[in-house]
């Protein structure tokens, strides 16, 4: 899972003037030809830094994103749902491993990435700073947050950095299971009892605002991204991705008879674009900077997981200890 929402900080272009102009021109020509950049190739410092940040944050989002759903595994209704959710959560953690590996090819160690996650130095997708109160919240995440992630990941898979694209191709193949599973869960809630329907409606009411935030601030207020678009680091704008998501999923939500909590939401038939109430970007910034309902506990759970695994990693590192039967 992922969203464009965490790479909204502006980029500094001043380092660009220190790059070798000829190498820079060759680099840009390669991207313009549609060729991928590989780890051994020359690349501008800014490209490297931006990609590390983006891929690393994507990796963190997979790990942290597994937490709200993870606690629902034992409470999922029935054995089959438990199996499915467990498989999905396992996939998400596997995605983090693939992504960390891709980021590592750019020169940042996995130790450092994990440290930066726990200390709060690097960010992850903002949507996971909200709680999953009920089973329906978990279903919302599986279906719609993953759907949003797919929009983002399919776009990024056409980007310029070889290892990231290859990781994303593998990830997207698995996401199709997540999406189908999530939709399956929601269809069952929708065609269930009144209470089940109400439960999903309430989850939808809680998650709609974070879902609109998911793709990042509107293009009107986003830091300028032309260089990143030219270098195929960013493949489409936040608003375009949001629009694509609404196009694909609003009809499916309405079809199930649910109400989306935005009276202004409608498709403009002339522009072919969706109109909606402008999301509260102040809240978005506040939450991404640490002041959301779950920020602290997400990092704390991660810290505990790391601490509890430490002795295992240390034991693995020193396999030279051997048991010898006492002599007498």
């Amino acid at each position: 899972m992922y969203g464009g929402g965490n790479t909204f900080e502006g980029i500094k272009t001043d380092s660009l003037s220190q790059e070798d102009p000829q190498k820079l021109a060759e680099f840009e020509a390669r991207i313009a030809r549609g060729e991928k950049i590989e780890p051994g190739d020359w690349m501008p410092d800014m490209y490297r830094k931006q990609l590390i940040r983006m891929i690393e944050q994507h990796g963190h989002s997979e790990i942290i994103g597994a937490l709200p759903e993870g606690t629902w595994i034992t409470r999922a209704p029935g054995f089959k749902r438990k199996l499915s959710l467990m498989a999905k959560v396992q996939d998400e953690v596997g995605h983090a491993q693939l992504l960390y590996s891709a980021a590592e090819t750019l020169g940042k160690s996995r130790e450092q990435m994990l440290d930066d996650l726990i200390t709060g130095k690097s960010k992850y997708s903002n949507i996971f700073n909200y709680p999953a109160f009920t089973w329906a919240d978990s279903c919302f995440i599986s279906w719609l947050v993953d759907a949003g992630a797919i929009v983002n990941q399919l776009a990024n898979a056409k980007g310029s950095y070889g290892p990231y694209c290859r990781a994303l191709e593998r990830i997207c193949a698995e996401e199709s299971f997540h999406l189908k599973y999530g939709h399956h869960c929601v269809i069952y809630l929708a065609s269930g009892t009144d209470k089940q329907r109400q439960m999903f409606q309430e989850a939808l009411n809680r998650w709609w605002a974070p879902m609109m935030h998911f793709f990042g601030p509107s293009d009107k207020i986003s830091a300028h991204t032309e260089v990143l678009m030219k270098w195929k680091v960013k493949m489409s704008t936040n608003d375009d991705q949001r629009n694509q998501f609404l196009d694909m999923y609003v009809p499916k939500i309405w079809e199930l008879g649910f109400t989306i909590p935005d009276p202004k939401l409608k498709k403009n038939t002339e522009t072919n674009k969706w109109e909606y109430t402008e999301p509260d970007w102040e809240e978005f910034k506040r939450v991404i900077n640490g002041d959301g309902p779950c920020n602290k506990e997400r990092l704390e759970v991660r810290r505990i997981a790391e601490e509890r695994g430490r002795w295992v990693r240390e034991a693995l590192k020193s396999p030279s200890m051997r048991y010898v039967t006492p002599l007498a």
Partner: protein, 204 residues
């Protein structure tokens, strides 16, 4: 700190610890993973895993890359055991960028050879050669596998440094067909949806 989720509050040490920075190599070293998708197809590079030794690397590779019907065989090797050529571009072959190496006399060993033939794709198995050093293996591969071809990057790996799949290891994948719940095709809800829509139509 208090979570809204009682399960989280019950975690031992919740809210009480300090962040301990990681020591170097806390995440262990890396191993390269090569996978054969189908019988008769060449192996190709898939990615890396972090592990403490090659046996654990093999197991983690299986978990990371072959949770579904994606392979018949895989092998792993320590990243440091992969000898890498320069990266070339355009019409230049990586073989032409190799530093001149004298062919040394010595004990011959077998090497696996991988080629990158299209930038942006994975390295694919090209064949195997016999040589007395990785540098020598590159030179032999140039003559035996690289003539008349543009190859952008070459990897050679001593076969003795590889953990291959054995016949009994293949059991690892035997239960995969039973795990249909990992597959999108196991989540068909079309009938349920149609029934729901029908009912909704009549209710109006």
């Amino acid at each position: 700190m208090k979570s809204l989720d009682p399960r989280v509050n019950r975690l031992p040490g919740f809210g009480q610890g300090e962040v301990q920075p990681k020591a170097a190599l806390d995440q262990l070293g890396t191993y390269e993973v090569f996978v054969q998708a189908k019988e008769g197809k060449p192996f190709q590079h898939e990615g890396i895993v972090h592990a403490s030794d090659i046996e654990l690397a093999y197991i983690l590779a299986k978990e990371t890359f072959t949770r579904r019907f994606t392979c018949v065989s895989l092998y792993v090797t320590d990243t440091r055991d992969v000898y890498v050529s320069p990266l070339s571009e355009g019409q230049t072959s990586a073989y032409d960028l190799l530093p001149a190496a004298e062919v040394q006399q010595g004990e011959q060993e077998m090497y696996e050879v991988y080629h990158l033939v299209k930038r942006g794709k994975q390295h694919v198995h090209a064949g195997e050669v016999s040589a007395s050093s990785p540098q020598g293996a590159m030179q032999v591969a140039k003559q035996q596998l690289g003539v008349g071809k543009v190859v952008y990057n070459v990897w050679v790996i001593r076969k003795k440094a590889i953990r291959y799949t054995t016949d009994t290891d293949k059991d690892l994948w035997l239960t995969l067909p039973d795990k249909k719940y990992r597959d999108a095709s196991d989540y068909k809800a079309g009938d349920k949806l149609t029934a729901f829509l029908e009912k909704a139509k009549h209710a109006v």
